[in-house]
Amino acid sequence: MEVGQLQRSFIEYMSSLFNEGFLDAQFSQLQQLQDESNPDFVVEVVSLFFEDSERLLNDLTMALDQPNVDFKQVDAHVHQLKGSSSSVGAQRVKNCCVPFRSVCEEKNTEACLRCLQQIKQEYLLVKNKLQTLFELEQQIVAAGGAIPMMQ
């Protein structure tokens, strides 16, 4: 594929991510922060997000697996996850955190597990999407093109 085509599909893909709510404006912010002095900023931050989220999701799974669930702990984890996801603009993950925290406050283990399930799903979705996006980016760079900026 030629560069122009790649760039087009990149833009399309990006806008689809925004349109479908996977990402929000915060992600654009990250992209704006990326410059020559910091060329891999977005990838770095998002990788950090992946690491962090996986750890948190792991912790959450463990925490909810206990016979006596420490809801405070769970809530702290969810809070962390919310902060992380909102910082990278992973909107749908972030949106899942809100009900999670409320059911956590109710100490409803069942609902917590459901929320966790949902969050995991959303997380995997956005992870896939972002990875695809980065691959596209790499292809564009490999083809010698510039990453198009989104408005």
Partner: protein
């Protein structure tokens, strides 16, 4: 003698023979040679024989000489002998000739045959090759061949009838000898004849054998054929012959993947499919029918060889009878050539287009340049005209304040109003040319929409000379403070309002302000034509950058002048001011700021309707309403005056600010002008108002009252009151005008429920001229706001001789500067402004403060003085991602930040270092942000870290003893319930930023808290 003669003759004969024989071809056959040699040999033999005979009769010799010498007989004998010999020779010649004839006949015959063969060959060639090939090579071969095979024998029969009889004539011996001799001759003759016959036979046989030289011919043919093939094979052409049904009978250089049998006997259509095949078939048919050769280019697009273009030459082939029996067809692939040709044509076309474009462009550029130059000239001229004109007008105004009799006053008033009109026109033109040339710059400043609406209405009311109710509605959802170019917005509003008043004779004129959801796509209201007039009352538009930037021009700044010039020729109040002075005034009137709203920065679209119950706009006039110099009609212009620029300017300004303007109107019922503009909602306002160090605290108090009133009320109304009587009573003239103005002044003041107070700072007004820094101040919207109202107060001062004015009157520029600040009118904002202005005053007075460009300055002037080094910023945040993002953003903003991960570390960091700003996450492990903030605040207040010790944090180092300064701490919240804003404030935080942190939020935060 005879012998000698004989031998001489024989020699001659020999010579002749030699000559003859040399004529024979080299490869003369055996028989011929024999024959030739035979003849002379025979002669010699005969002579020898005779000689021998003579030898035997020596007597005869004697006798012979006797006979020769003496006998007639002898001589006649000799003569006879000679004759006889001659005859014989003749005979031999004749025979030879006959032979030659026969041979040449044969040759002719063979030549004929050869021709026949050639003809046949040629015909064959023509038939199959279609090429009239010259067979010159072949011809020669044949000729040579024939020469070889058919030697011409001219002298092959040689009759030697020479009689040499030595015996005596008529003797028996003689006869015997003679008979013998003749017999011999006969024999020889027979023999010769036989030999000849044989030879002839042989010759014929040979001729027959060799007259059909198939092998050699075919070899020659083959050679020619090969040559032909070679040439054809290398030629980039396809050659074919097709019969009447266009079936291929012959093809050369056909497409390689096709075999001969795939083609022969088939038509094009049967062989190929695709574009062009049918065309070529039709073309061939056409040639076949018309019988005239033709050429054509045909583009094929077949599955077999893709898209190719062929140049095809087709010629009909006729039979001998003259009927067409098929076509010869020759095709040459010219795809590349065609492509090149097409590219050429395209290029040529493009070049032509390019050239046309260039010409067009040049023309356009030329026109544009011309236009720009014209505009520039207009602007320059306007500018140049304005300066002296403002001098004239201001002098006239001064004159009008002197003691004049009635007539003089009338004249002066006319002068004033005319001058005003001209001035306004020029200002309009300047404005327009500025907008159009893109020179006009918009400024983003905070302002309060309610105030603007009120002030505009006040201004209008002040000069109102009609029984009209002016009202303003500002809906609640309109933010208290927004950011925009208030100058221009006021200009639009004032213009529209004065327009509305101008065309409304009864009823009301009002402004409605409310938030609309979205930048509705430009509703093109097909036609807006309101009497575009630019009324004399429009004052705001006079606000130009020029006023601010070039005070030396003494630009006349007229403020909300309300008078209807046309009506009575009276002019309304005018405020002449170097723009700069306003800022000073602004600085002087300082009012309390309303409570800050914790709004995040967003863009709101505010719609503003200016409605009236006036004469309305005819449907057909609407389309041209916003055009320059257009009014509804000629009579409108006459009746109402104006330049027709006002609405055009309004519309252009609105569009310049990213909004748009529309109109709806019903004739005789009124019009509504609507403009929708985007505004930025101002973010956090400075709420730390404690440190106000301004002298006019009392002023502040009154102002704050006023302010509350101003800000909270969403509805203003200005009733006409007794205007009518005043209006109707006196004759025209300045006097009337003044009283009317006086009224306006009262009105406005009353509406504010405050007495007129003038706060003046004469000292500042002087400095303002001198220091450049103050010029900046004048660009602050608030300043302009303030300055734009006090027309009433000015009038008041003039009439009443308010002593406060005298101190500030500057006549040096020929301009009277009146600075009045009625707090009710100038309800300007914010402490922030106050601080800024204070600072500016300080700056201008002391000239020692470092330069600061930031518009938003901290309220604490003292603090700002100190901080000129790079600020220390601490980020307290446990989320690594947030840390990364925030750090990166800060970096882009030019700050390096320290990072700690929880509240305890934050406290320790504050113990170690002094920070200018702390960004604090609220929800953190170990110690949350609220507690950390409390501890830090406690230290700031008490100067010790006891509280921290209580919380289990030991001092690591000796603390930098409390500098007494309060570190701004900004919470970073996730907007969760547990992190409410109240809680943040309650714990001593100054502000908060909601997560996720954006570039804009950070920037604003830094701007606000970092000087």
């Amino acid at each position: 003698m005879v012998c000698e003669m004989e031998s001489g003759q024989a020699d001659d004969m020999d010579m002749e023979m030699e000559m003859l024989s040399s004529m024979w071809p080299e490869d003369m056959n055996e028989a011929g040679k024999q024959f030739n040699i035979d003849n002379p040999g025979l002669d010699q033999d005969m002579l020898e024989e005779v000689t021998i005979n003579e030898d035997s009769t020596i007597v005869d010799f004697m006798r012979l000489s006797e006979l020769t010498n003496y006998s007639e007989k002898g001589s006649s004998q000799l003569a006879y002998l000679v004759k006889n010999w001659e005859y014989k020779q003749e005979n031999a010649v004749r025979l030879l000739r006959e032979e030659l004839d026969s041979l040449s006949k044969q040759q002719q015959e063979s030549e004929l045959k050869k021709l026949e063969i050639l003809e046949k060959y040629q015909f064959e060639e023509e038939r199959y090759g279609g090429d009239k090939r010259p067979i010159s090579i072949l011809d020669e071969e044949l000729k040579r061949y024939i020469f070889h095979e058919v030697p011409r024998k001219r002298n092959d029969v040689r009759v030697q009838d020479k009689l040499e009889i030595d015996a005596e004539y008529d003797s028996i011996k003689y006869w015997k000898q003679r008979a013998e001799h003749l017999g011999k001759l006969l024999e020889a003759s027979v023999q010769r004849e036989q030999t000849l016959l044989e030879k002839l036979q042989e010759s014929i046989e040979k001729l027959e054998r060799q007259s059909s030289p198939v092998e050699e011919l075919s070899q020659v043919l083959k050679r020619a054929d090969n040559f032909l093939h070679f040439v054809l094979q290398n030629a980039p052409v396809v050659i074919g012959h097709q019969d009447k049904e266009l079936r291929y009978r012959f093809i050369y250089n056909h497409f390689p993947s096709l075999r001969e049998e795939d083609i022969i006997g088939k038509t094009d259509v049967e062989i190929f499919t695709g574009a062009g095949v049918k065309e070529s078939q039709d073309f061939k048919k056409e040639v076949l029918e018309r019988g005239i050769p033709a050429k054509r280019e045909i583009t094929f697009d077949t599955g077999l060889f893709g898209s190719k273009t062929f140049l095809i030459y087709v010629e009909p082939v006729f039979s001998k009878a003259g009927e067409t029996i098929g076509v010869n067809y020759m095709g040459m692939e010219i795809t590349d050539q065609v492509r090149k040709r097409e590219r050429m044509a395209k290029l040529r076309e493009e070049i032509a287009v390019q050239k046309a474009k260039e010409t067009e462009l040049n023309k356009t550029i030329h026109i544009t340049e011309e236009t720009m130059r014209a505009k520039q000239m207009l602007a320059t001229m306007s500018h140049e005209i304005r300066s002296p004109l403002s001098g004239v007008v201001s002098m006239t105004e001064i004159l009008s304040n002197t003691k004049l009799d009635k007539e003089q006053r009338q004249l002066v008033n006319v002068m004033l109003s005319s001058g005003d009109l001209v001035l306004q026109l020029i200002n309009d033109i300047l404005d327009l040319s500025k907008v159009e040339s893109g020179v006009m710059k918009l400024e983003a400043t905070k302002f309060r929409p309610r105030e603007v609406v009120k002030h505009v209405l006040q201004t209008a009311a002040a000069s109102l000379q009609k029984m009209l109710t002016l009202e303003g509605h500002v809906s609640e959802d309109v933010p208290i403070e927004v950011i925009g170019d208030v100058l221009r917005i006021r200009q639009i509003l004032t213009n529209l309002i004065s327009n509305a008043i101008k065309f409304t004779h009864e009823g009301k004129v009002g402004i409605k302000l409310y938030v609309v959801a979205e930048p509705s796509p430009l509703v093109k209201q097909g036609s807006h034509k309101r009497m575009a007039s630019d009324n004399s009352k429009v004052s705001a538009k006079i606000w130009k950058e020029d006023n601010c930037t070039s005070p030396s021009h003494n630009a006349l700044v007229r403020k909300g002048s309300g008078g209807c010039k046309d009506a009575d020729g009276a002019n309304e109040s005018r405020m002449h001011n170097g723009g700069c002075n306003y800022s000073e005034q602004n600085g002087a009137s300082i009012e309390d700021e309303l409570d800050d709203s914790n709004q995040q920065e967003t863009t709101v679209w505010i719609r503003c309707d200016v409605y009236d119950t006036g004469i309305g706009i005819p449907e057909n006039a609407i389309p041209t309403l916003f055009k320059k110099y257009m009014q509804v009609g000629a009579d409108t212009a006459r009746k109402y005056g104006g330049t027709g620029l006002g609405l055009a300017i309004c519309k252009q300004l609105a569009e310049l600010m990213g909004g748009h303007m529309t109109v709806s109107s019903k004739e005789h019922h009124g019009s509504t002008f609507t403009f929708i503009l985007p505004y930025t909602v101002s973010p956090l306002c400075d709420n730390s108002d404690d440190n106000e160090e301004l002298s006019e605290i009392d002023n502040h108090d009154t102002a704050s009252e006023e302010n509350d009133d101003d800000i909270n009320s969403g509805f203003f109304q200005f009733q006409p009151r007794t205007l009518g009587s005043l209006f109707s009573s006196h004759s025209s003239g300045r006097g009337t005008k003044l009283s009317a103005n006086g009224f306006g002044f009262n009105t406005s003041n009353k509406s504010n429920g405050l007495p007129v107070n003038s706060y003046s700072f004469p000292s500042h007004s002087n400095t303002s001229k001198e220091t450049g820094s103050v010029e900046d101040a004048c660009s602050v919207a608030d300043a302009v706001d303030t300055s734009s109202e006090p027309e009433s107060s000015l009038r008041h001062s003039r009439n009443s001789g308010n002593p406060s004015t005298s101190g500030r009157e500057q006549t040096s520029n020929g301009v009277v500067d009146h600075h009045f600040h009625t707090p009710c009118l100038t309800s300007t904002d914010a402490k922030r402004d106050q601080g800024e202005i204070t600072e500016k005053i300080e700056k201008s007075q002391l000239q020692e403060q470092p330069d600061r460009s930031s518009e938003c300055s901290s309220s604490n002037a003292a603090k700002t003085l100190k901080t000129s080094t790079k600020p220390n910023i601490l980020l307290v945040e446990d989320n690594k991602i947030l840390v990364m993002v925030t750090r990166s953003m800060m970096k882009q903003l030019g700050h390096d930040i320290d990072i700690v991960n929880n509240g305890i570390e934050a406290v320790r960091a504050v113990q170690r270092d002094s920070y200018d700003l702390i960004l604090m996450d609220v929800c953190m492990p170990v110690m949350d942000g609220l507690q950390a903030t409390r501890l830090i605040r406690s230290f700031e207040e008490s100067g010790n870290w006891d509280a921290a010790k209580d919380a289990g944090i030991d001092e690591e180092v000796s603390p930098s003893q409390g500098s007494g300064k309060r570190i701004p701490i900004i919470a970073m919240t996730a907007n969760a319930l547990s992190e409410s804003a109240e809680e943040c404030y309650a714990n001593g935080m100054d502000s908060f930023v909601s997560k996720p942190v954006t570039f804009q939020k950070l920037k604003e935060c830094l701007q606000q808290y970092l000087p």
